[in-house]
Symmetry: D2
């Protein structure tokens, strides 16, 4: 870490800062420039809070050279992490999976029909929302426990592992038989929830927050890993920008950056990022082309219920077309 | 609500959409244009999810004319809501308060010293963090229950009502004697928490999320109000932009917009928005000048502990100067 | 266009607005709702300025249903526009081209070496900066006329058509023999320049501004087309967000949206978007996969001069690798 | 400047970089850390392009400690610059001015009526658009030369100095008698125009671009100052964010930051920032409260023509109310 100090600061302020820094067990290396003093920190700086230092009156700027995340850092774990969900289903290290299913779980029939269709088309895992984060308290909030029961029933019948979103620590017991627990964008920095998920031994799919940068996503992964749970799948699902034609702006360069900074697998959710079914195919193909380890795509079975499944959902036929196109791209990569 | 359909859509699709819309108890009013059909909805459209409709293949665009929030809406409650914390301390309807205190609670001495100083300078309420949302799992996470105990002890000695942040529903019992519960920016859309806070009868200070727009802030307030708790104080604390000189970009026009759209009081937190003590005074004065109903300012007592209190904190002397300047502005408004 | 009025507005205000609107030759269609009046406009609304109307005291909201662009609009020109640069080189309607070359033109040797290498690897067109938009007045500003002379010389020797950026109307005469004129992101809304380029008959590559949305990009294309020059190539090169790991955030969903809204070809510039050579390959592959009509990639010939060519430049060997990967993706699309 | 290199880089790459850096006349100071090498640069680093270095394969990160701007930098010019427009009208160093006038110049009557009214209310300077940057080629583009003639005529009759926007170098001769030339947000990085304005001796009002950060604004000022013209007034007019209730998000903390980093005066334009007349008063008051050196406010004379003057315009009566409120705030600052 490099800390540049302002000009004309008092000697004792400088010494106070240095001794405080060294109290964190790092070595300091001071060089006096013409206009300012620069302090270099060597050692484990992960426990030093840059935000805190950067705003001190005597400090001009702070740059972190070694990232603040350790367990998620490729520098210390060069090999890709492979998240093994079942014997057949894995993410990372060359393993690619498509997760598909309805936005929200409605009925056993609905979920089973979709599950069988997407499995037929090549999906390896079933998604479905039981707890729905909705901007409005007046919108449908999901079937909760009953929704998870339906997913587990369909899992039994189809053999597909399931993933569903958790919204509160209190609901954790309901997720015991769920294969992968999803943390949604709005909860990416719900730190109490992340800590709790660090204590269990189950893969977590962690979605990037709407306005969270790549470093913050990795720090949230670090929260879970610090607790001992290292089975994490990162998910890019679009960030919030000034653009309004798409619901969010899908940041595919994040896939390349995440693969460089971290050893964790990265999947892409083109359905939520674009908010419109007609953009899912091109974005799914682009995600596969830039090296994503998987995709998460919304599918609904029945146009009549399209309204409940949301605009970003594909029909099983459309999904089949997308899956085939994605597989073509995957082949071209070899 | 106005729904514009695409050209050349099949009649049954149109009818299916209309009948679905009417199933929500709204009246529809269809006008056929040259290039498209436009459906106008009359009645209570709050339960209709625009996101959902806007992405349908047959829909070109959706505009909500009556906002999706009702209880927080000034249209239906013209008079300012006054949040009465104690007999002496109120927000809104002409009542202005400065909330001051340390970023995080460390010791009884620290909190008491700061409390007495800021009260002397005119602060009406004491703030202090017991549970700290930290980006890094390796940063200090707060004293938790012990922190709240200290705040309550200092409340007893100084008579100042206290506000502190909640991070998880499970901690709610610890907040029984807390005067105002704060929901932080990262939890603004932690809907399960919001619902729970709707069930209690205690003022809530709801901070705007880093990337949440004004409508979403009011929808989160609506979540709490829908549960029956209408004592809500909104808080503008900066949004995330491309600018890096300040930690966030303080959006003071939000104060004017919120006062227009809603009857709820609005306070401004210049400390977290700017992330640097030297910008707190000008932004506090600006906030007072544009009609904020209060301010939330970080104060630390001891330069030696500045590092623990964070860069955005003022010394009691600096706070006294800010408070005097703010009061001058308040007088100029009369 | 749909204009929603506020409640309780005076009749004459409403009538004044309606008569003013009709003075633009559109028909109005008024429907009175419970809480507001809604005015629907039918006819050619392109000449009506929504920004202007949306802020009127009596107006609550304005939605444009038919886009404000006509000549660039696929609705009125269903077929893809093919921009034919030379007999061999075309963009759009299935034609895909890679534009490659140095960030800035330095010497004839440099440009010729790069040109021959990238042509060998499959690039169809040569790029090179003669006029460089630099954030700092102290940075290298380009060779200007001499740079263009060099490009034309190399064009003669290699037969590759050339593209280079214009920064001021006054320089236009120097571009007479240039095949395609580039308008950079910073000049996307330099409307005087756009008008001038509408008067010439030469393909224009129009880059999206750092903070301009898709509609504004198409409105800038409309400026050029309104003057009679319809040979326009749109270019996505990243938008500005809060993310700092990449220089900008490449918005690949814009490719899909632009192809839906407009008939103009769309190329992608992964070099400037990411600002780092190591991200160019995955983003180039992703761009090809989502249907871009071409790529614009920076290449430098000599690692020793890498510093002058910029961090986002590839070596000819790296470019060859990228070009081969992109061609594999293109094949997979068929 | 601090350059952190990656691990395991070849010695000759390191030496090549160092020798290249020193060729710019700076001294380098290398310290070898555990995980990387850090190079500190001492001396005048303004000519070194950080963007360029930061993307090099061997470089991990670059921090500029001394800002890249010199002439605009308060570090080298501690005293406020006072821009003296006339004997009576100055900006900076305690001088505060309100610039008022119509969005666009229509008729002599219109401008004269407004000018006399706003002068009466305390405005020191008259604004009016002759060349209008419009997003759509179909919108009114201004009266051009005739507009400037009208402004000069009204200047003669009222004695108010005038400011109007330039959009192209070619129009410069028309601006000979204009007192202050405005560079609009869209031209903030039209570097050819900035260079040209550096050659004249006339105050320039430089507006911040919609997506330009504070450093870029100061670099654009540096462009003009590098040419020898140091009479620059900076203008904050809102930046583009995800928020849609206001046209842009007014960044008032920029006023405090600019005053810290630079000696140049800073004015605020609440009219364009918010895009709605009803938000102008609170934002004008806030701007005055946080230390702005002036305001730029749109005023139209005739509600019947409100539509042509734009939604953000005030009536003379409303302006009088705003001016009085602003003056009250100014008094409170003393």
């Amino acid at each position: 870490m490099i800390i540049a100090l302002k000009r004309d600061i008092r000697q004792e302020e400088k010494e106070h800062l240095i001794s405080w820094l060294e109290s964190y067990g790092v070595r300091t290396h001071v060089s006096e420039g013409e206009y300012q003093t620069v302090i270099g920190l060597v050692g484990d700086t992960t426990r030093i809070d840059t935000d805190l230092i950067s705003g001190l009156d005597i400090v001009q700027s702070v740059t972190r050279i070694s990232e603040p995340f350790k367990k998620a850092n490729r520098k210390f774990h060069p090999d890709d992490t492979v998240v093994q969900v079942t014997d057949q289903v894995a993410f990372g290290g060359g393993n690619f999976q498509i997760i598909a299913g309805p936005c929200s779980v409605e009925t056993e029939d609905q979920v089973e029909t979709i599950a069988k269709a997407v499995k037929e088309s090549g999906a390896g895992m079933l998604r479905g929302g039981a707890f729905k984060p909705r901007t409005s308290p007046y919108d449908f909030q999901g079937l909760h426990g009953e929704g998870i029961r339906i997913l587990l029933e369909v899992k039994k019948r189809t053999g597909m592992p399931i993933i569903t979103e958790i919204m509160d620590i209190g609901h954790l017991p309901l997720f015991e038989q769920v294969d992968v627990i999803q943390v949604g964008a709005r909860n990416m920095q719900n730190f109490e929830l992340l800590k709790e998920l660090g204590r269990i031994r189950k893969p977590i799919l962690l979605k990037r927050g709407l306005a969270n940068n790549i470093k913050e996503l990795l720090m949230s992964a670090e929260y879970i890993m610090a607790g001992g749970n290292e089975q994490i799948i990162l998910c890019e699902r679009g960030v919030r920008t000034f653009e309004t034609y798409t619901r969010n702006t899908l940041d595919l360069s994040a896939v390349a950056v995440l693969h460089e900074l971290s050893h964790l697998p990265v999947v892409v959710d083109p359905s939520h990022a674009t908010g419109a079914a007609r953009y899912v195919k091109p974005m799914a193909m682009a995600a596969a082309a830039c090296g994503a380890d998987g995709l998460m795509i919304e599918v609904h079975n029945d146009p009549k219920h399209a309204l409940c499944d949301g605009p970003q959902s594909l029909t099983p036929e459309q999904f089949d077309d997308v899956a085939k196109a994605v597989m073509k791209i995957r082949k071209a990569l070899v």
